[in-house]
C-alpha cells in the first residue's frame, strides 16, 4: 500500500513540476518580451515613462527631475523609494554636487559632464556607484533601496547605493540570555548582522557570499564560512540546496531551514539557529557554515549535531568545572523533561513494586479518590501546560501576568483540592515544564516525545518506554545533517571529540575542531598552551 501511495505521490509531484516549469517559462518569456532586455534609450522622458510603467502608481516612488550644468542645460532625474533611502545622503551627496557645485564651472567643462563616467568619477560623493543599462536592473535595485540617476542623452544610468532605513538597534537577544559574555544580538538588518560577525572574525578567510531568494520578496541571504576550515563539500551542497529554492517569498530563516534540511519529516531539527553573534562566530570557527537571512535575527548554522543543543556559549566563558557540571545538569534535565511523566504513568499503573514502600503510600494517598487513570491525568495536565505556555507567549505582557496566576493557582491548586487530579501529577508536570526549558534547542521536539512516551507507558508500561527510547535512538542514529551523523561524536564514536560532550575541558586543551564536521585544518591552536608560572630565575649573587 505504501508503495502505491509513494508512486502516486511521485507522479503527482512530477506533474506539478512540469506545470511549474511551464509557468516559469511563461513568466520568463513574458518578462523577456516586456522589459528585461529593454535597454535604456537616450531619451530621458522615454526612460522615465518605461520605469513608471513598471512601478505603476506606487505612492512611495519618488522621481525628482532637475537640471544642472552652469546654465542648467542638462536635464536629469533621480528615482528612489521613499523610506528605503538615506535622504541626507541624496540631498548632500548627489543633488548638491550636481546642482550647486556645477554652477561655477566654465562652459567647456560643462559640456563634458554630460559624460556619465565623469559624473561617476569626479562629481558624486558616494562610496558605491555602479552603471547599468537595462531597465529591469534599475527597477530591481531601486526596489532594494538604491537611488537611480538618469541623465538626458545617456544610454547608461547610475545606480547609487543609498540604502538607509529605520532599523532596530543591536540589543540584548531575548531568546538566549546569559550571565557572562557579550550582550549584543543579531538584528533584522542583514548588513548589521554580517558586520557583527565580521567584527568578531577579522580574517580574510572569513567569506560572505551573497544570494537572492524569493521570486517576489527577493530576500537577500548571505552564506558565511571560514575558507580553509569549513568542509568545501558542505559549502557546495549548501549552495546547491539554496539555489534549488524557487518560491515566491522568504520571510524568515525558518523558510530556508524548511527547504534545505536533511530530514524534513523528522521532529528533530537538523539545522541549528542562534541569535547571538558570538555563538555563530564560535560555530563558524569550528568549521560550520552559517546562513544569514535579511529580515530576521535568527541565523542558521549547519551541520548540526544532537549534542549542540546542550552546549551554550557561556560554557566556554566560565570555568571548566562549573561548565561541565552544567552540561551534566542539562542532560539530566532533558531526560527529566521527556521521561518524568511517562515514568510516573508506568510506575503507578504497571510497576507499583518499583516505588519504595514509604513513597508508595504517599503516591497512593494523593491519587486516592481521583476519578481518572494516571495516563489521562498526565496527558490532560500536559495539554493544559502547553495551553498556558502558548497563552503566555501570545498574550500582551500585562495580561500575561493574570494568565500565570490563573494557571498556577487556580488550575493547579484548585484541581488538586477539588480532587480532580493527584497532587503528585501537578508536581511531575511542573518539574517537566521547568526542565524542558533548560535545553531550548530540543524544547519543541521534547514536547512531542513526551506525549508519545506517555501513551506508550500507559499502554505497555516500562517496556513501552524502553521501546520508545530505542525508537528515538534508531531515529537519531539514522539522521544526518549535511553529511555529518546527527549523533556524532557519540555514534560514530570519535574519542577526541568527547572533550566537549558530557564535560568541557579547559580552553587550552581544546586542540582540535570537531572531526566529524571538519576534514581539513583540524588543529585550532598550539599544543602546549597550559598556563604555567614563569620558570624560577636563578639567584644572582646578592639580590635577595
Amino acid at each position: 500500500m505504501f508503495n502505491f501511495l509513494s508512486k502516486k505521490l511521485r507522479s503527482w509531484q512530477q506533474q506539478n513540476q512540469n506545470i511549474n516549469k511551464e509557468n516559469k517559462e511563461n513568466d520568463n518569456s513574458k518578462k523577456t518580451k516586456e522589459n528585461s532586455q529593454a535597454k535604456l534609450s537616450s531619451n530621458l522622458k522615454e526612460n522615465l515613462d518605461s520605469i513608471k510603467a513598471i512601478l505603476g502608481v506606487c505612492e512611495d516612488l519618488i522621481i525628482r527631475e532637475f537640471a544642472f550644468g552652469n546654465k542648467g542645460q542638462i536635464s536629469a532625474a533621480i528615482i528612489f523609494i521613499d523610506g528605503m533611502v538615506d535622504r541626507t545622503l541624496i540631498n548632500d551627496n548627489i543633488i548638491k554636487p550636481l546642482m550647486y557645485d556645477n554652477r561655477f564651472i566654465c562652459e567647456e567643462e560643462s559640456l563634458e559632464i554630460k559624460n556619465i563616467d565623469i559624473i561617476k568619477g569626479t562629481i558624486l560623493y558616494v562610496g558605491e556607484i555602479e552603471k547599468s543599462t537595462t531597465i529591469n536592473d534599475l527597477v530591481e535595485s531601486c526596489l532594494s533601496g538604491d537611488t537611480i540617476l538618469l541623465i538626458e542623452k545617456a544610454k547608461e544610468a547610475l545606480v547609487i547605493s543609498s540604502r538607509g532605513w529605520e532599523t532596530r538597534g543591536v540589543v540584548d537577544p531575548e531568546t538566549e540570555t546569559i550571565v557572562r559574555g557579550p550582550r549584543e544580538g543579531f538584528t533584522e538588518n542583514l548588513r548589521t548582522n554580517t558586520t557583527l560577525l565580521r567584527r568578531k572574525i577579522k580574517s580574510p578567510d572569513f567569506m560572505l557570499e551573497a544570494m537572492k531568494i524569493g521570486r517576489k520578496t527577493n530576500t537577500a541571504i548571505s552564506i558565511a564560512y571560514l575558507k580553509g576550515v569549513a568542509n568545501p563539500e558542505v559549502i557546495e551542497e549548501a549552495k546547491r540546496r539554496l539555489k534549488r529554492i524557487d518560491t515566491d517569498g522568504i520571510l524568515e530563516s525558518g523558510y530556508i531551514e524548511g527547504f534545505i534540511e536533511d530530514a524534513p519529516l523528522s521532529i528533530f531539527s537538523t539545522i541549528g539557529n542562534s541569535e547571538k553573534p558570538d555563538t555563530v562566530a564560535g560555530k563558524i570557527l569550528e568549521g560550520r557554515v552559517a546562513v544569514l537571512v535579511d529580515g530576521t535575527p535568527f541565523v542558521l548554522t549547519f551541520p548540526m549535531v544532537f549534542i549542540e543543543g546542550f552546549q551554550s556559549a557561556e560554557d566556554y566563558y566560565s570555568r571548566p568545572y562549573y561548565a561541565s557540571l552544567v552540561r551534566v545538569i542539562r542532560f539530566i534535565a532533558f531526560a527529566i523533561s521527556i521521561l518524568a511523566p511517562s515514568s510516573y504513568v508506568a510506575a503507578t499503573t504497571f510497576h507499583q513494586e518499583l516505588i519504595p514502600t514509604p513513597l508508595l503510600f504517599t503516591v497512593a494517598a494523593s491519587s486516592e479518590g481521583t476519578p481518572f487513570p494516571a495516563v489521562v491525568e498526565v496527558l490532560a495536565m500536559g495539554v493544559i501546560f502547553e495551553i498556558l505556555r502558548e497563552a503566555g507567549i501570545r498574550l500582551p505582557r500585562p495580561v500575561g501576568q493574570a494568565i500565570s496566576i490563573v494557571g498556577a493557582l487556580v488550575i493547579g491548586e484548585s484541581a488538586v483540592s477539588a480532587g480532580l487530579i493527584g497532587g503528585i501529577v501537578v508536581i511531575v508536570i511542573a518539574l517537566t515544564a521547568v526542565a524542558s526549558f533548560v535545553v531550548p534547542a530540543q524544547t519543541d521536539s521534547g514536547a512531542i516525545l513526551r506525549v508519545i512516551l506517555v501513551i506508550l507507558a500507559g499502554s505497555m508500561g516500562g517496556v513501552g518506554i524502553m521501546v520508545g527510547l530505542i525508537g528515538i535512538l534508531i531515529h537519531l542514529a539514522s539522521l544526518r545533517s549535511f553529511g555529518t551523523p546527527y549523533l556524532s561524536p557519540l555514534a560514530p564514536l570519535s574519542p577526541f571529540d568527547l572533550k566537549d560532550v558530557f564535560f568541557r575541558v579547559p580552553i587550552w586543551a581544546m586542540l582540535t575542531r570537531p572531526k566529524s564536521i571538519v576534514r581539513q585544518n583540524i588543529q585550532r591552536q598550539k599544543f602546549i598552551l597550559k598556563p604555567t608560572p614563569p620558570p624560577e630565575k636563578k639567584d644572582k649573587g646578592g639580590s635577595k
Binding site: 510497576h351 519504595p356 530505542i470 525508537g471 534508531i474 542514529a477 539514522s478 555514534a491 564514536l493
Partner: protein, 367 residues
Amino acid sequence: MKIEKGVISSSQLTFMIIGFLQASNLLLVFSSRIVNHDSWLAILVGLVISIPIALSYAALAKEFSGKTLIQISDIIYGAYLGKMISVSYILIFLLTFSIDLRLFSDFLITYIMPETPIWAILTLLTFLSAWAVRGGIEVIARCSFIIIAMASIIILSTFVFLLSDMEFSNFLPVFDLPLKDFIQGTHINVSLYYLEIIIFLMIMAFVNKTEQVRGSMLWGLILGGVSLLILEVRNVAVLGIVSNILTSPSFNAVRYISVAEVFTRLEMFVVIMLITTVFLKVSIMYYATVLGLAQTLHLRSYLPLVTPIGIITISLCIISGDSSMELLHGGMYIWPVFILPIQLFPVLSLFIVKLRKKSKKLGANEE
C-alpha cells in the same frame, strides 16, 4: 551492484560484538544448569576455545575482503553447492534470531508483564528491529556504542553494589563435577553465544579498514566474554546454588541491591540492559538474515524482504516451543549439537581456500 552502501568503522564492529555477547545474558542459564557453580570456568574455557575459531573467521573475511559469507561460499563451492550452503547459513541465522527473540519475550512475560499476550511483545520488538534494519548497517552500528556503554555501566555498577552481598565460598568446591558434564557445558557456551559471532561474517565486509577486522573481532570477543564472566560470577556469588534453578538469575541477583535502603529494586536496570542489548543482537541477526537472503537470490535491495521475514519470525517465535521449559530443554540438549557443525563450516572453507592457494603455488613452482 552493491546491496549495502553503508560503511562502518572497526571500532563499531567491536562494539557490536560486545553488545551481541552481552545480550547472551539470558542464555547463561543453559550451561549453568549442567555445570552448576563452575559455570564461570565453562565460560572462561569456552572463550579460550572460541578465540582461534573466531580468528579463523577473521582470516576468511580478510581472504575475501568486501565479500559476505554468502558470496564467499558462492565463490568457494560454486553456484549450486554454494547456494545450498548459503541456505543453511540463512536458516541458522533465522532460527537463532527467532529463538533469541522468543526467549527474551518469555523473560518479559514471566517477570514484568504476565498478562500481556506474547505476540504483542514480539510484534513490538520485531517492529523496532525492522525499523533499524531498514536504516541499514550504519544505523545499527551507531546505536551500538550508546547501547553497550549503558549496558557496561549497568553491569559494572550492579557488580560493585552487590559486593557486600557476595559469598565467594559459593564457588567451592571448584571443579567438582564429571568431565563429561563440563565438556557439555562448555560446548553449550561455545555454540550458543561465542560462535554465534559467525553472523559478523555478514557484516565484516562493510568495515572500512579490512586489516583491523582481526583485532576488533578479538577485542570484541574478549570484552564480551569478560562481561559475561562478570555477570556469571556476580550471579553465582550472590545467589549460590539457587542461580541454577532460576530462569533469570541476573534479575534475581540485582534484587538484593539496597543502597542506604533508598536505591532498592534496581532490577529494572537489568531489564533496561537486556532490552537494549537484545534489541541490538536481534537487529544484527535480522539484518544478516535479510541481507543473506537478498544476496542468495541476487536481489538488488534487501528492503522488500524486511517485512516478510519479520512476519515469518514472529510466527516462528510462537511455534518454536509451547513453554519456557521446552525451549530450555531444546537450548540445552538439541540446539548446540545442531548448530556447531555449521558454525565450524567457515573454518573448513578457510582450510579449502588455503589448500587451493598452496597447490596453485606448488603448481606454479613446478612449471
